[in-house]
Protein backbone atom coordinates (compact mmCIF):
# COMPACT_ATOMS: atom_id res chain seq x y z
CA UNK A 1 0.00 0.00 0.00
CA UNK A 2 1.08 3.51 -0.77
CA UNK A 3 -0.84 6.74 -0.87
CA UNK A 4 0.25 9.03 -3.67
CA UNK A 5 -1.53 10.51 -6.65
CA UNK A 6 1.06 9.22 -9.13
CA UNK A 7 2.67 5.81 -8.79
CA UNK A 8 3.65 5.38 -12.42
CA UNK A 9 7.13 3.96 -13.00
CA UNK A 10 9.02 1.61 -15.32
CA UNK A 11 8.82 -2.16 -14.96
CA UNK A 12 12.50 -2.58 -14.17
CA UNK A 13 12.24 -0.05 -11.34
CA UNK A 14 9.02 -1.55 -9.98
CA UNK A 15 10.50 -5.06 -9.82
CA UNK A 16 13.78 -3.79 -8.37
CA UNK A 17 11.97 -1.85 -5.65
CA UNK A 18 9.18 -4.20 -4.69
CA UNK A 19 10.29 -7.74 -5.50
CA UNK A 20 13.40 -8.63 -3.48
CA UNK A 21 15.01 -12.07 -3.41
CA UNK A 22 13.20 -14.37 -1.02
CA UNK A 23 9.96 -12.41 -1.18
CA UNK A 24 6.65 -14.05 -0.40
CA UNK A 25 5.02 -13.51 -3.74
CA UNK A 26 1.68 -13.98 -5.47
CA UNK A 27 0.68 -13.35 -9.05
CA UNK A 28 -2.73 -12.70 -10.56
CA UNK A 29 -4.58 -14.34 -13.41
CA UNK A 30 -5.71 -17.91 -13.97
CA UNK A 31 -4.10 -20.66 -16.10
CA UNK A 32 -3.69 -19.06 -19.56
CA UNK A 33 -5.38 -15.76 -18.76
CA UNK A 34 -4.20 -12.36 -17.52
CA UNK A 35 -1.02 -13.62 -15.85
CA UNK A 36 1.36 -10.68 -15.24
CA UNK A 37 3.82 -12.19 -17.70
CA UNK A 38 5.86 -9.06 -18.48
CA UNK A 39 6.52 -8.71 -14.75
CA UNK A 40 7.35 -12.42 -14.52
CA UNK A 41 9.90 -12.09 -17.36
CA UNK A 42 11.42 -8.99 -15.76
CA UNK A 43 11.81 -10.94 -12.51
CA UNK A 44 13.48 -13.83 -14.32
CA UNK A 45 15.69 -11.37 -16.21
CA UNK A 46 16.78 -9.81 -12.91
CA UNK A 47 17.66 -13.36 -11.75
CA UNK A 48 15.67 -13.09 -8.54
CA UNK A 49 15.88 -16.13 -6.30
CA UNK A 50 14.30 -17.89 -3.35
CA UNK A 51 10.69 -16.82 -3.66
CA UNK A 52 7.94 -18.27 -1.53
CA UNK A 53 5.15 -18.38 -4.10
CA UNK A 54 1.42 -18.51 -3.33
CA UNK A 55 -0.75 -19.71 -6.19
CA UNK A 56 -4.29 -20.91 -6.75
CA UNK A 57 -4.31 -21.75 -10.48
CA UNK A 58 -1.90 -19.10 -11.76
CA UNK A 59 -0.68 -21.41 -14.51
CA UNK A 60 1.75 -19.99 -17.04
CA UNK A 61 3.35 -17.43 -14.74
CA UNK A 62 3.92 -20.00 -12.03
CA UNK A 63 5.49 -22.46 -14.42
CA UNK A 64 7.94 -19.94 -15.87
CA UNK A 65 8.98 -18.66 -12.44
CA UNK A 66 9.49 -22.21 -11.22
CA UNK A 67 11.26 -23.23 -14.42
CA UNK A 68 13.66 -20.29 -14.22
CA UNK A 69 14.70 -21.34 -10.73
CA UNK A 70 13.26 -18.30 -8.95
CA UNK A 71 11.04 -20.29 -6.57
CA UNK A 72 12.18 -22.12 -3.45
CA UNK A 73 8.76 -22.93 -2.01
CA UNK A 74 5.25 -22.96 -3.35
CA UNK A 75 1.79 -23.25 -1.85
CA UNK A 76 -0.53 -24.14 -4.66
CA UNK A 77 -3.95 -25.48 -5.64
CA UNK A 78 -3.48 -26.21 -9.32
CA UNK A 79 -0.50 -26.19 -11.63
CA UNK A 80 -1.90 -26.39 -15.13
CA UNK A 81 -2.47 -24.25 -18.20
CA UNK A 82 -5.61 -25.80 -19.60
CA UNK A 83 -5.19 -27.97 -22.65
CA UNK A 84 -1.69 -26.60 -23.28
CA UNK A 85 -0.33 -28.25 -20.16
CA UNK A 86 -2.79 -30.25 -18.04
CA UNK A 87 0.05 -30.35 -15.52
CA UNK A 88 2.53 -27.48 -15.76
CA UNK A 89 5.70 -29.06 -17.08
CA UNK A 90 8.47 -27.22 -15.25
CA UNK A 91 6.46 -27.39 -12.02
CA UNK A 92 6.05 -31.14 -12.45
CA UNK A 93 9.76 -31.61 -13.07
CA UNK A 94 10.65 -29.49 -10.05
CA UNK A 95 8.36 -31.48 -7.77
CA UNK A 96 9.40 -34.88 -9.08
CA UNK A 97 13.11 -34.01 -8.87
CA UNK A 98 12.84 -32.56 -5.37
CA UNK A 99 13.89 -29.15 -6.65
CA UNK A 100 11.15 -27.28 -4.83
CA UNK A 101 9.28 -27.46 -1.54
CA UNK A 102 5.53 -27.53 -2.01
CA UNK A 103 2.25 -27.75 -0.17
CA UNK A 104 -1.20 -28.42 -1.67
CA UNK A 105 -4.52 -26.67 -1.12
CA UNK A 106 -7.71 -26.31 -3.14
CA UNK A 107 -8.58 -23.29 -5.25
CA UNK A 108 -11.23 -22.14 -2.81
CA UNK A 109 -8.95 -22.66 0.17
CA UNK A 110 -6.27 -20.52 -1.49
CA UNK A 111 -8.87 -17.90 -2.38
CA UNK A 112 -10.10 -17.85 1.21
CA UNK A 113 -6.51 -17.58 2.45
CA UNK A 114 -5.97 -14.48 0.33
CA UNK A 115 -9.35 -13.16 1.44
CA UNK A 116 -8.38 -13.72 5.10
CA UNK A 117 -5.22 -11.73 4.45
CA UNK A 118 -7.26 -8.99 2.79
CA UNK A 119 -9.65 -8.94 5.75
CA UNK A 120 -6.87 -8.86 8.33
CA UNK A 121 -8.11 -11.99 10.11
CA UNK A 122 -5.97 -15.04 10.92
CA UNK A 123 -8.22 -17.55 9.15
CA UNK A 124 -11.48 -18.17 7.35
CA UNK A 125 -13.76 -21.22 7.62
CA UNK A 126 -14.97 -23.62 4.95
CA UNK A 127 -16.12 -27.21 4.73
CA UNK A 128 -13.89 -27.84 1.74
CA UNK A 129 -11.47 -30.71 2.17
CA UNK A 130 -12.96 -32.50 5.20
CA UNK A 131 -11.95 -36.15 4.96
CA UNK A 132 -9.24 -35.59 2.33
CA UNK A 133 -5.47 -35.76 2.19
CA UNK A 134 -5.36 -32.01 1.67
CA UNK A 135 -6.04 -31.91 5.40
CA UNK A 136 -4.08 -35.01 6.34
CA UNK A 137 -0.85 -34.50 4.37
CA UNK A 138 1.27 -31.42 4.97
CA UNK A 139 3.94 -30.24 2.57
CA UNK A 140 5.70 -28.18 5.21
CA UNK A 141 6.42 -30.02 8.45
CA UNK A 142 5.59 -28.74 11.91
CA UNK A 143 9.32 -28.33 12.56
CA UNK A 144 9.76 -26.23 9.42
CA UNK A 145 6.79 -24.11 10.42
CA UNK A 146 8.03 -23.67 13.97
CA UNK A 147 11.37 -22.43 12.65
CA UNK A 148 9.90 -19.87 10.26
CA UNK A 149 7.84 -16.98 11.65
CA UNK A 150 6.59 -16.26 8.13
CA UNK A 151 4.69 -19.57 8.07
CA UNK A 152 1.55 -20.34 10.07
CA UNK A 153 2.18 -22.96 12.73
CA UNK A 154 -0.37 -25.26 11.15
CA UNK A 155 -1.44 -26.00 7.61
CA UNK A 156 -5.09 -26.11 8.59
CA UNK A 157 -7.20 -26.53 11.72
CA UNK A 158 -10.50 -28.40 12.02
CA UNK A 159 -12.92 -26.69 14.41
CA UNK A 160 -16.15 -28.10 15.83
CA UNK A 161 -18.92 -25.57 15.13
CA UNK A 162 -19.04 -23.35 18.24
CA UNK A 163 -22.62 -22.41 17.34
CA UNK A 164 -23.87 -26.00 17.71
CA UNK A 165 -25.55 -27.15 14.53
CA UNK A 166 -26.06 -23.62 13.18
CA UNK A 167 -26.01 -23.68 9.37
CA UNK A 168 -26.35 -27.48 9.60
CA UNK A 169 -22.60 -27.64 10.01
CA UNK A 170 -20.84 -29.93 12.44
CA UNK A 171 -17.31 -28.73 11.84
CA UNK A 172 -15.28 -26.51 9.57
CA UNK A 173 -11.76 -26.33 8.22
CA UNK A 174 -10.00 -23.09 9.15
CA UNK A 175 -7.49 -22.00 6.51
CA UNK A 176 -4.75 -19.57 7.59
CA UNK A 177 -4.41 -16.10 6.09
CA UNK A 178 -1.81 -15.29 3.47
CA UNK A 179 -0.20 -11.88 3.40
CA UNK A 180 2.20 -11.82 0.44
CA UNK A 181 5.03 -9.31 0.51
CA UNK A 182 4.05 -8.44 -3.00
CA UNK A 183 1.30 -9.29 -5.47
CA UNK A 184 1.82 -8.76 -9.18
CA UNK A 185 -1.22 -8.16 -11.38
CA UNK A 186 -1.92 -7.36 -14.98
CA UNK A 187 -5.16 -5.46 -15.65
CA UNK A 188 -6.86 -3.80 -18.59
CA UNK A 189 -6.94 -0.28 -17.15
CA UNK A 190 -5.18 1.49 -14.32
CA UNK A 191 -5.05 5.10 -13.17
CA UNK A 192 -1.87 6.76 -11.86
CA UNK A 193 -3.08 6.42 -8.24
CA UNK A 194 -3.33 2.66 -8.66
CA UNK A 195 -7.08 2.31 -9.14
CA UNK A 196 -7.71 -0.70 -11.39
CA UNK A 197 -10.56 -1.68 -13.66
CA UNK A 198 -10.60 -5.33 -14.68
CA UNK A 199 -12.73 -6.47 -17.61
CA UNK A 200 -14.22 -9.96 -17.55
CA UNK A 201 -13.41 -12.32 -14.71
CA UNK A 202 -11.38 -10.93 -11.83
CA UNK A 203 -10.37 -14.46 -10.68
CA UNK A 204 -8.83 -13.90 -7.20
CA UNK A 205 -6.86 -10.80 -8.22
CA UNK A 206 -8.80 -8.52 -5.92
CA UNK A 207 -8.21 -10.68 -2.85
CA UNK A 208 -4.55 -11.17 -3.78
CA UNK A 209 -4.04 -7.42 -4.14
CA UNK A 210 -5.79 -6.51 -0.92
CA UNK A 211 -3.93 -9.20 1.04
CA UNK A 212 -0.46 -8.01 0.00
CA UNK A 213 1.89 -5.56 1.66
CA UNK A 214 2.88 -4.25 -1.76
CA UNK A 215 1.15 -4.43 -5.12
CA UNK A 216 2.69 -3.92 -8.55
CA UNK A 217 0.18 -3.46 -11.35
CA UNK A 218 0.95 -3.62 -15.03
CA UNK A 219 -1.77 -2.42 -17.37
CA UNK A 220 -2.77 -2.44 -21.02
CA UNK A 221 -4.02 1.12 -20.76
CA UNK A 222 -2.73 3.77 -18.40
CA UNK A 223 -5.56 6.26 -18.11
CA UNK A 224 -5.70 9.79 -16.71
CA UNK A 225 -6.41 10.48 -13.02
CA UNK A 226 -10.07 11.31 -13.74
CA UNK A 227 -10.82 8.69 -16.35
CA UNK A 228 -11.99 5.84 -14.11
CA UNK A 229 -14.08 8.07 -11.85
CA UNK A 230 -17.08 8.23 -14.15
CA UNK A 231 -18.18 4.71 -13.15
CA UNK A 232 -16.40 3.99 -9.87
CA UNK A 233 -18.35 0.77 -9.28
CA UNK A 234 -16.37 -0.80 -12.14
CA UNK A 235 -13.04 -0.37 -10.35
CA UNK A 236 -12.37 -3.48 -8.30
CA UNK A 237 -9.03 -2.49 -6.79
CA UNK A 238 -8.78 0.73 -4.79
CA UNK A 239 -5.72 2.82 -5.51
CA UNK A 240 -4.56 2.88 -1.89
CA UNK A 241 -3.45 -0.76 -1.92
CA UNK A 242 -1.21 -0.31 -4.98
CA UNK A 243 2.47 0.69 -4.86
CA UNK A 244 3.48 0.84 -8.51
CA UNK A 245 1.61 1.27 -11.79
CA UNK A 246 3.43 0.26 -14.96
CA UNK A 247 2.15 0.78 -18.47
CA UNK A 248 2.87 -2.48 -20.32
CA UNK A 249 0.84 -3.21 -23.46
CA UNK A 250 0.71 -6.96 -24.07
CA UNK A 251 1.77 -7.36 -20.46
CA UNK A 252 -0.11 -10.67 -20.17
CA UNK A 253 1.25 -12.19 -23.41
CA UNK A 254 1.39 -15.16 -24.12
CA UNK A 255 -1.65 -15.48 -21.82
CA UNK A 256 -4.91 -13.75 -22.74
CA UNK A 257 -6.19 -10.34 -21.76
CA UNK A 258 -9.95 -10.19 -22.28
CA UNK A 259 -11.07 -7.54 -24.77
CA UNK A 260 -7.45 -6.91 -25.82
CA UNK A 261 -5.95 -10.18 -27.07
CA UNK A 262 -6.24 -13.93 -26.78
CA UNK A 263 -3.67 -16.41 -25.51
CA UNK A 264 -1.16 -17.33 -28.21
CA UNK A 265 -1.61 -21.04 -28.98
CA UNK A 266 1.57 -21.03 -31.07
CA UNK A 267 3.70 -19.68 -28.26
CA UNK A 268 2.10 -21.95 -25.66
CA UNK A 269 2.60 -25.05 -27.84
CA UNK A 270 6.22 -24.09 -28.48
CA UNK A 271 6.58 -23.51 -24.76
CA UNK A 272 5.34 -27.02 -24.04
CA UNK A 273 7.93 -28.46 -26.38
CA UNK A 274 10.69 -26.31 -24.90
CA UNK A 275 9.73 -27.03 -21.30
CA UNK A 276 9.84 -30.79 -21.81
CA UNK A 277 13.58 -30.96 -22.50
CA UNK A 278 16.38 -29.47 -20.38
CA UNK A 279 18.47 -28.30 -23.33
CA UNK A 280 15.57 -26.72 -25.14
CA UNK A 281 14.42 -25.14 -21.89
CA UNK A 282 17.76 -23.36 -21.43
CA UNK A 283 17.54 -22.17 -25.05
CA UNK A 284 13.99 -20.95 -24.45
CA UNK A 285 15.01 -18.87 -21.44
CA UNK A 286 17.95 -17.43 -23.31
CA UNK A 287 16.03 -16.60 -26.44
CA UNK A 288 12.73 -15.45 -24.96
CA UNK A 289 13.81 -13.84 -21.68
CA UNK A 290 17.49 -13.02 -21.21
CA UNK A 291 18.21 -11.98 -24.81
CA UNK A 292 15.30 -9.53 -24.82
CA UNK A 293 16.14 -6.48 -22.76
CA UNK A 294 12.53 -5.47 -22.09
CA UNK A 295 8.89 -5.88 -23.04
CA UNK A 296 9.28 -3.71 -26.14
CA UNK A 297 12.00 -6.02 -27.45
CA UNK A 298 9.91 -9.04 -26.50
CA UNK A 299 6.84 -7.86 -28.36
CA UNK A 300 9.00 -6.99 -31.37
CA UNK A 301 10.40 -10.53 -31.29
CA UNK A 302 6.90 -12.00 -31.29
CA UNK A 303 6.21 -9.93 -34.35
CA UNK A 304 3.13 -8.25 -35.81
CA UNK A 305 1.80 -11.36 -37.54
CA UNK A 306 1.41 -13.39 -34.35
CA UNK A 307 0.03 -10.41 -32.46
CA UNK A 308 -2.45 -9.73 -35.23
CA UNK A 309 -3.72 -13.32 -35.06
CA UNK A 310 -4.62 -13.00 -31.39
CA UNK A 311 -6.27 -9.56 -31.47
CA UNK A 312 -9.58 -9.62 -29.63
CA UNK A 313 -12.74 -9.43 -31.65
CA UNK A 314 -14.65 -6.40 -30.28
CA UNK A 315 -17.83 -8.49 -30.17
CA UNK A 316 -16.54 -11.48 -28.20
CA UNK A 317 -13.47 -10.13 -26.39
CA UNK A 318 -11.28 -12.95 -27.73
CA UNK A 319 -9.86 -13.88 -31.15
CA UNK A 320 -12.89 -15.45 -32.78
CA UNK A 321 -11.98 -18.44 -34.90
CA UNK A 322 -8.38 -18.50 -33.71
CA UNK A 323 -6.57 -21.65 -34.79
CA UNK A 324 -6.00 -23.45 -31.51
Amino acid sequence: MRIAPDKVMGLEEAVTRFVPDGAHLSIGGFTCNRNPMAAVYEIIRQRKRGFHLYAHSNGQGVDELVGAGCVARIEIAYAGTGRFAPTCIRFRKAVESGGIQFEDYSNYQMTLRFLAGAMGVPFLPTRSGLGTDILARWGFSEAMRAADPRLPKKKLVVLENPFGDWAETERVVLVPAIRPDVTLLHVQKAAPDGTCRIAGLAFADVEQARAARHVVVTCEELVGPEDLRDEPERNQIPGVVVDAVVHVPYGAYPTACYRHYDYDPVFLSDYRTAATDEGRWAEYLERWVFALRDQTARIAAVGPERLSAIQADPRTGYATGLKR
Binding site: G129, L201, F203
Partner: protein
Protein backbone atom coordinates in the same frame (compact mmCIF):
# COMPACT_ATOMS: atom_id res chain seq x y z
CA UNK B 1 -24.85 -44.13 -37.21
CA UNK B 2 -21.13 -44.33 -36.42
CA UNK B 3 -19.87 -42.62 -33.28
CA UNK B 4 -16.72 -42.45 -31.23
CA UNK B 5 -16.34 -43.57 -27.62
CA UNK B 6 -15.61 -39.98 -26.71
CA UNK B 7 -18.92 -38.91 -28.20
CA UNK B 8 -20.75 -41.61 -26.25
CA UNK B 9 -18.97 -40.65 -23.02
CA UNK B 10 -19.97 -37.03 -23.51
CA UNK B 11 -23.59 -37.96 -24.10
CA UNK B 12 -23.69 -40.48 -21.25
CA UNK B 13 -22.70 -37.69 -18.88
CA UNK B 14 -24.97 -35.14 -20.51
CA UNK B 15 -27.97 -37.44 -20.09
CA UNK B 16 -27.46 -37.29 -16.31
CA UNK B 17 -27.97 -33.52 -16.15
CA UNK B 18 -31.47 -32.34 -15.25
CA UNK B 19 -33.26 -29.29 -16.49
CA UNK B 20 -33.12 -26.38 -14.05
CA UNK B 21 -29.82 -27.45 -12.54
CA UNK B 22 -26.66 -25.40 -12.09
CA UNK B 23 -23.88 -27.29 -13.86
CA UNK B 24 -20.36 -26.84 -12.62
CA UNK B 25 -17.81 -27.92 -15.15
CA UNK B 26 -14.09 -27.90 -15.66
CA UNK B 27 -12.10 -28.14 -18.86
CA UNK B 28 -12.21 -30.69 -21.64
CA UNK B 29 -14.88 -33.32 -21.88
CA UNK B 30 -16.74 -32.12 -18.77
CA UNK B 31 -17.36 -28.78 -20.48
CA UNK B 32 -18.53 -30.62 -23.56
CA UNK B 33 -20.98 -32.70 -21.52
CA UNK B 34 -22.40 -29.57 -19.86
CA UNK B 35 -22.83 -27.87 -23.22
CA UNK B 36 -24.40 -30.96 -24.77
CA UNK B 37 -26.85 -31.22 -21.87
CA UNK B 38 -27.87 -27.58 -22.28
CA UNK B 39 -28.41 -27.97 -26.01
CA UNK B 40 -30.16 -31.35 -25.86
CA UNK B 41 -31.78 -32.23 -22.52
CA UNK B 42 -31.63 -29.36 -20.08
CA UNK B 43 -32.23 -26.04 -21.85
CA UNK B 44 -32.78 -24.23 -18.56
CA UNK B 45 -29.63 -25.51 -16.92
CA UNK B 46 -27.12 -22.81 -16.08
CA UNK B 47 -23.43 -23.53 -16.61
CA UNK B 48 -21.02 -22.01 -14.08
CA UNK B 49 -17.26 -22.03 -13.86
CA UNK B 50 -15.13 -21.88 -10.74
CA UNK B 51 -13.51 -18.76 -12.17
CA UNK B 52 -16.79 -16.91 -11.57
CA UNK B 53 -18.61 -16.97 -14.92
CA UNK B 54 -22.35 -17.69 -14.80
CA UNK B 55 -24.44 -18.83 -17.79
CA UNK B 56 -21.66 -18.35 -20.34
CA UNK B 57 -22.69 -18.44 -23.99
CA UNK B 58 -19.77 -20.72 -25.02
CA UNK B 59 -19.96 -19.82 -28.68
CA UNK B 60 -16.50 -21.41 -28.95
CA UNK B 61 -15.11 -24.12 -26.70
CA UNK B 62 -12.89 -22.82 -23.91
CA UNK B 63 -9.61 -24.71 -23.48
CA UNK B 64 -9.40 -23.80 -19.81
CA UNK B 65 -11.84 -22.46 -17.23
CA UNK B 66 -9.80 -19.25 -17.36
CA UNK B 67 -10.24 -18.99 -21.13
CA UNK B 68 -11.79 -15.67 -22.24
CA UNK B 69 -14.39 -17.81 -24.04
CA UNK B 70 -16.10 -18.43 -20.68
CA UNK B 71 -16.52 -14.66 -20.25
CA UNK B 72 -18.21 -13.83 -23.53
CA UNK B 73 -21.93 -13.41 -23.16
CA UNK B 74 -22.04 -14.59 -19.56
CA UNK B 75 -24.79 -13.17 -17.39
CA UNK B 76 -22.25 -12.35 -14.69
CA UNK B 77 -18.49 -12.57 -14.25
CA UNK B 78 -17.06 -12.14 -10.78
CA UNK B 79 -14.33 -14.38 -9.37
CA UNK B 80 -13.42 -17.55 -7.52
CA UNK B 81 -14.67 -16.41 -4.12
CA UNK B 82 -18.23 -15.90 -5.37
CA UNK B 83 -18.29 -19.02 -7.52
CA UNK B 84 -17.27 -21.37 -4.72
CA UNK B 85 -19.51 -19.62 -2.20
CA UNK B 86 -22.44 -20.29 -4.51
CA UNK B 87 -21.60 -24.00 -4.33
CA UNK B 88 -20.95 -24.07 -0.59
CA UNK B 89 -24.16 -22.15 0.12
CA UNK B 90 -26.86 -24.75 0.88
CA UNK B 91 -29.62 -22.84 -0.93
CA UNK B 92 -27.85 -22.77 -4.28
CA UNK B 93 -25.33 -25.58 -3.72
CA UNK B 94 -28.06 -28.23 -3.43
CA UNK B 95 -28.97 -27.47 -7.05
CA UNK B 96 -25.45 -27.84 -8.40
CA UNK B 97 -24.23 -30.87 -10.29
CA UNK B 98 -20.46 -30.98 -10.65
CA UNK B 99 -18.56 -32.74 -13.40
CA UNK B 100 -15.04 -33.80 -12.49
CA UNK B 101 -12.17 -35.97 -13.68
CA UNK B 102 -9.09 -37.38 -11.97
CA UNK B 103 -6.03 -39.59 -12.29
CA UNK B 104 -7.22 -42.25 -9.83
CA UNK B 105 -10.55 -43.31 -8.36
CA UNK B 106 -11.46 -45.87 -5.70
CA UNK B 107 -14.65 -47.87 -5.19
CA UNK B 108 -16.23 -45.07 -3.14
CA UNK B 109 -15.56 -42.46 -5.83
CA UNK B 110 -12.74 -40.75 -3.99
CA UNK B 111 -10.45 -38.99 -6.44
CA UNK B 112 -6.74 -38.38 -6.77
CA UNK B 113 -5.56 -35.58 -9.01
CA UNK B 114 -2.42 -34.75 -7.06
CA UNK B 115 0.28 -37.41 -7.13
CA UNK B 116 1.15 -41.04 -7.83
CA UNK B 117 3.49 -42.50 -5.24
CA UNK B 118 4.48 -40.77 -2.04
CA UNK B 119 3.05 -37.24 -1.77
CA UNK B 120 6.32 -35.49 -0.91
CA UNK B 121 8.43 -37.54 -3.34
CA UNK B 122 5.98 -38.54 -6.05
CA UNK B 123 6.64 -40.81 -8.98
CA UNK B 124 4.23 -38.68 -11.01
CA UNK B 125 2.97 -35.29 -10.03
CA UNK B 126 -0.32 -33.98 -11.41
CA UNK B 127 -1.89 -30.54 -11.35
CA UNK B 128 -3.43 -30.84 -7.90
CA UNK B 129 -6.98 -30.17 -6.77
CA UNK B 130 -7.79 -26.88 -8.43
CA UNK B 131 -11.46 -26.50 -7.60
CA UNK B 132 -12.14 -30.26 -7.68
CA UNK B 133 -11.87 -30.82 -3.93
CA UNK B 134 -14.12 -27.82 -3.33
CA UNK B 135 -16.78 -28.98 -5.76
CA UNK B 136 -16.65 -32.55 -4.46
CA UNK B 137 -16.97 -31.21 -0.90
CA UNK B 138 -19.90 -28.87 -1.57
CA UNK B 139 -22.32 -29.80 -4.31
CA UNK B 140 -25.37 -32.05 -4.34
CA UNK B 141 -24.02 -34.62 -6.76
CA UNK B 142 -21.01 -35.14 -8.96
CA UNK B 143 -20.53 -36.94 -12.25
CA UNK B 144 -17.01 -38.24 -12.73
CA UNK B 145 -15.10 -38.81 -15.95
CA UNK B 146 -12.36 -41.48 -15.99
CA UNK B 147 -10.37 -43.49 -18.48
CA UNK B 148 -11.12 -47.10 -17.69
CA UNK B 149 -7.69 -48.48 -16.78
CA UNK B 150 -6.45 -50.75 -14.00
CA UNK B 151 -3.96 -48.13 -12.81
CA UNK B 152 -6.77 -45.60 -12.51
CA UNK B 153 -9.49 -47.70 -10.84
CA UNK B 154 -7.46 -48.54 -7.76
CA UNK B 155 -8.09 -50.14 -4.39
CA UNK B 156 -6.71 -47.13 -2.64
CA UNK B 157 -5.93 -43.73 -4.12
CA UNK B 158 -2.37 -42.58 -3.47
CA UNK B 159 -3.63 -39.16 -2.39
CA UNK B 160 -7.26 -38.39 -1.63
CA UNK B 161 -7.67 -35.02 -3.37
CA UNK B 162 -11.45 -34.82 -3.73
CA UNK B 163 -13.92 -36.55 -1.43
CA UNK B 164 -16.24 -39.14 -2.90
CA UNK B 165 -18.23 -41.21 -0.41
CA UNK B 166 -15.00 -41.46 1.68
CA UNK B 167 -15.22 -44.87 3.46
CA UNK B 168 -18.77 -45.45 2.26
CA UNK B 169 -22.24 -45.50 3.87
CA UNK B 170 -22.50 -42.31 5.97
CA UNK B 171 -18.78 -41.52 5.75
CA UNK B 172 -19.37 -38.06 4.35
CA UNK B 173 -21.74 -37.12 7.14
CA UNK B 174 -19.29 -38.40 9.74
CA UNK B 175 -16.51 -36.30 8.20
CA UNK B 176 -18.73 -33.22 8.38
CA UNK B 177 -19.42 -32.91 4.67
CA UNK B 178 -22.87 -32.03 3.36
CA UNK B 179 -25.06 -34.73 1.79
CA UNK B 180 -24.63 -35.69 -1.81
CA UNK B 181 -21.58 -37.12 -3.51
CA UNK B 182 -20.61 -39.05 -6.62
CA UNK B 183 -23.56 -40.27 -8.61
CA UNK B 184 -21.93 -41.74 -11.69
CA UNK B 185 -18.57 -42.48 -13.24
CA UNK B 186 -18.50 -42.16 -17.00
CA UNK B 187 -15.60 -44.02 -18.61
CA UNK B 188 -14.59 -45.06 -22.10
CA UNK B 189 -16.08 -48.50 -21.38
CA UNK B 190 -19.02 -48.04 -19.07
CA UNK B 191 -21.22 -46.03 -16.75
CA UNK B 192 -20.73 -46.85 -13.08
CA UNK B 193 -23.07 -45.84 -10.26
CA UNK B 194 -23.00 -46.02 -6.44
CA UNK B 195 -25.23 -48.08 -4.19
CA UNK B 196 -27.56 -45.80 -2.22
CA UNK B 197 -26.80 -47.63 1.05
CA UNK B 198 -23.21 -48.84 0.97
CA UNK B 199 -22.10 -46.12 -1.48
CA UNK B 200 -20.00 -48.72 -3.25
CA UNK B 201 -19.47 -48.47 -6.98
CA UNK B 202 -21.40 -50.85 -9.23
CA UNK B 203 -21.71 -51.28 -12.97
CA UNK B 204 -24.78 -49.49 -14.29
CA UNK B 205 -24.19 -49.99 -18.01
CA UNK B 206 -21.54 -51.17 -20.44
CA UNK B 207 -21.05 -49.64 -23.84
CA UNK B 208 -22.57 -51.25 -26.96
CA UNK B 209 -20.15 -53.91 -28.19
CA UNK B 210 -18.53 -54.30 -24.77
CA UNK B 211 -19.34 -56.49 -21.78
CA UNK B 212 -19.27 -56.48 -17.97
CA UNK B 213 -16.23 -58.79 -18.17
CA UNK B 214 -14.32 -56.28 -20.26
CA UNK B 215 -15.11 -53.56 -17.73
CA UNK B 216 -13.96 -55.66 -14.77
CA UNK B 217 -10.74 -56.54 -16.57
CA UNK B 218 -9.78 -52.88 -16.50
CA UNK B 219 -10.11 -52.34 -12.78
CA UNK B 220 -7.91 -53.13 -9.79
CA UNK B 221 -11.02 -53.77 -7.66
CA UNK B 222 -14.15 -55.70 -8.46
CA UNK B 223 -17.66 -54.25 -8.60
CA UNK B 224 -21.15 -55.70 -8.66
CA UNK B 225 -22.46 -56.20 -12.20
CA UNK B 226 -25.87 -57.75 -11.55
CA UNK B 227 -27.72 -54.47 -12.11
CA UNK B 228 -25.92 -53.72 -15.39
CA UNK B 229 -27.42 -53.32 -18.86
CA UNK B 230 -26.11 -52.25 -22.22
CA UNK B 231 -26.10 -48.46 -22.70
CA UNK B 232 -28.34 -46.93 -25.30
CA UNK B 233 -26.23 -45.72 -28.22
CA UNK B 234 -26.31 -42.07 -29.25
CA UNK B 235 -29.32 -41.02 -31.24
CA UNK B 236 -28.85 -39.24 -34.56
CA UNK B 237 -30.19 -36.05 -32.94
CA UNK B 238 -27.74 -36.28 -30.04
CA UNK B 239 -24.85 -36.75 -32.45
CA UNK B 240 -25.98 -33.99 -34.76
CA UNK B 241 -26.17 -31.41 -31.99
CA UNK B 242 -22.90 -32.58 -30.44
CA UNK B 243 -21.04 -32.39 -33.74
CA UNK B 244 -22.65 -29.35 -35.33
CA UNK B 245 -23.38 -27.07 -32.39
CA UNK B 246 -21.32 -28.13 -29.38
CA UNK B 247 -17.88 -28.85 -30.84
CA UNK B 248 -17.88 -28.26 -34.60
CA UNK B 249 -14.11 -27.69 -34.54
CA UNK B 250 -13.70 -31.07 -32.76
CA UNK B 251 -11.32 -29.38 -30.33
CA UNK B 252 -12.30 -31.76 -27.56
CA UNK B 253 -14.11 -34.52 -29.48
CA UNK B 254 -10.82 -35.02 -31.28
Amino acid sequence: MEYTRRELMTLAAARKIRDGEIVFCGTGISMLAAMAAKHIYAPNSVIIFETGAVDSRLEEIPLAVGDPRVMYGASSCTGLADAFALMQNPTTGRHVVGILGAAQIDRFGNLNSTAIGEYLHPKVRFSGSGGACDVASFVDRTILFMQHERRKFVKRVDYLTSPGWLDGADGRRRAGLPGGGPEAVITDLAVMAFDPESREMFLEAWYPGGSPQEVLAHMEFSVEVSRARELEPPSPRELKILREIVDPQRLILG
